[in-house]
């Protein structure tokens, strides 16, 4: 097991290198110059070239890439061209914001999806099952940003139930308890939007996993020895049905983090995905590399986590 974890962790390195090489070449192929708006228009072209030369702008790409890698392994992602600050320093609060939003979306979808999936499966082909199935399809088919815009229009504007955008009321002077409530109110709509698709797919998986489990022989045995339906479903079937569900749950993590771009854009949520989007718009090379690296590491770690959970929960699985 330990060997397996180490091997998987080592495997992250070549993949990460591959990703960074591809992104590095791609962003340097983009038209436009990140320094264009920073340079004093009165400067002569010669002076400009000299300054760019000093920051290594004209070095061959492999040299620039190696310089980036050398910094990155020491936790130095360079200076953001746009924010004129250390990339990590700019990213850190955004990472926290993204974490808050995705965690809340994940809790929301898990709490909603798993019970619904179980009920759907135990009452297969009932009216409830039918409605839940159609609802899941609707959740998977509605464009995220369209759903978000509808909520903003009908719930935030017309009914005035929740704030329209942002993370907290600007210049409200709230403290303590009030501040917490204010932040929670800002979190509700983005959570709904971000959690929608996950809820739908998680529900479908719980349902089919549960149906698969109920067919097994040991469930028949449990029923045959006279256990109540409650115990059979919640103690015997559910435990085994949840194993694949947990894998699916950890597979949602990447989607919640990098797929949050549209949600973050609509609700003006200052998260990591929006930061990387802005970085691309501004040709902020160090910032693009930084955000993409962080996102890829999170994705790979959550994949590893999914596989490990699988082994921990299901003793039949052995990794070598």
């Amino acid at each position: 097991m330990r060997k397996y974890i180490i091997r998987r962790l080592l495997l992250i390195i070549p993949v990460l290198l591959g990703i960074s090489i591809i992104i590095f070449s791609l962003i340097h192929a983009m038209p436009g110059d990140p320094f264009a708006h920073l340079i004093d228009p009165n400067m002569t072209p010669e002076d400009k070239d000299r300054m760019l030369e000093a920051v290594g702008y004209f070095d061959p790409l492999p040299v620039q890439y190696l310089r980036w890698v050398a910094g990155a392994v020491q936790g130095e992602f360079g200076h953001s061209i746009r924010f004129k600050e250390d990339v990590l320093k700019v990213m850190w609060p955004r990472i926290q914001n993204t974490f808050v939003l995705s965690l809340s979306a994940m809790i929301f979808s898990t709490l909603l999806a798993i019970p619904l999936g179980i009920i759907s499966a135990t009452k297969q082909y009932s009216v409830f099952d039918y409605i839940a199935t159609v609802a899941a399809f609707i959740g998977l088919s509605i464009p995220v940003f369209f759903f978000g815009l509808m909520l903003i229009k009908f719930v935030a504007f017309d009914l005035g139930l929740f704030p329209i955008a942002g993370m907290q009321t600007v210049a409200s002077g709230y403290t303590g308890w009030q501040l917490l409530v204010d932040k929670a109110r800002h979190l509700v709509l983005p959570t709904l939007v971000l959690g929608l698709a996950s809820t739908a797919s998680l529900m479908r998986y719980t349902r089919s996993s549960m149906l698969e489990c109920v067919k097994q022989d040991y469930i028949r045995t449990a029923r045959a020895k006279g256990l109540s339906e409650r115990v059979v479903i919640y103690k015997h079937a559910l435990r085994n049905a949840l194993i694949p569900v947990i894998t699916i749950l950890s597979m949602q993590i990447p989607r919640l983090i990098s797929g949050a771009l549209l949600t973050e854009t609509i609700f003006v949520w200052p998260g990591l995905a929006r930061l990387s989007f802005q970085a691309v718009m501004n040709r902020d090379y160090p910032m693009i590399m930084g955000t993409v690296t962080v996102m890829s590491i999170v994705v790979m770690l959550s994949n590893l986590f999914a596989d490990l959970m699988y082994a921990v929960l299901d003793p039949r699985i052995r990794y070598q």
Binding site: P14, V15, G18, I19, I22, I23, L26, I27, A29, M30, P31, G32, V134, F137, I138, L140, S141, I142, P143, V144, F145, F146, L149, M150, I152, K153, F157, P254, I257, S258, G259, L261, L262, T265, A273, S276, F277, V280, I288, T291, V292, M295, S296, V299, M300
Partner: protein, 304 residues
Amino acid sequence: MINKDENKLVNNKNVENKTMLKGISPWKIAFSRLKKNKLALTGLVVLSILIFLAITADFIAPHGRDHIDLFNVNTAPSSEYLLGTDELGRDVLSRLIFGGQVSLSVGLIATSIALVIGVMMGAIAGYTGGLVDNAIMRIVDIVMCFPFFVIAIVIASILGPSIWNVMFVIGALSWTGLARIVRAEILTLKEKEFIEAAKSLGLEGHEIITKHLLPNILAPILVFATLGIAGAILVEAGLSFLGFGVRQPQPSWGNMISAAQSMTVLRLRWWQWIPPGLLIFITVLSINFLGDGLRDALDPRLKQ
């Protein structure tokens, strides 16, 4: 008239399926199963209507795609403009019909690109094994870890925004799931006796893959393709909404919704952004119903 042509479309499909797959009973079983699935059938009918509208847009649309009426800018729905006009005085309904061409063709072509890359990579990796398999699967890992929208936007800004580039970007980034499925299926299939027989007959690798292996995994590929079209339509809408997909004046449902980024439009002019959103939703929902129906119909474990 629409209804009649509609039926014809569906019937044609039946005929085609029957002649193409004559004598192959699993496909007939699957088709008869699909016919019993009400949701899938509804999806098929709705999709056929949408496709018909998109194809005949030039004749059906009440106004020209880019026809500007400066006396009627931002007007609410009326008998002249059934769904009102946009900020340039263009008819929203006509642009919706033309926008369908974009969304549907992006979905189809992007998925075809993903299909070609995914099947090829998966088949080669699964059949060859060893070092080639390892190399291809690492590439799959890399592409799977890409933060989708960031990469898509970077590529879109290198290539420039156009409908063809959107198709390419979506196709090039969404083949990995299929490659994994195809590889896994081929890994189990290639141990079977009929492949051994084909090998001992002296068939080449590419012949075994295309003639013996791929026909046997057509079902999962078909399901993936159907659901992939739905995904591609959603991604195109998202990219166009962000301004990196299909650009004005060419209408796409996604770039029509981006009008709602203005608070005035969002609050007061529902006809400019709710109809395209609903159309994306209906289209994707129908495809998902159809895809799910196909999955059930083609599942050999559910044989009766």
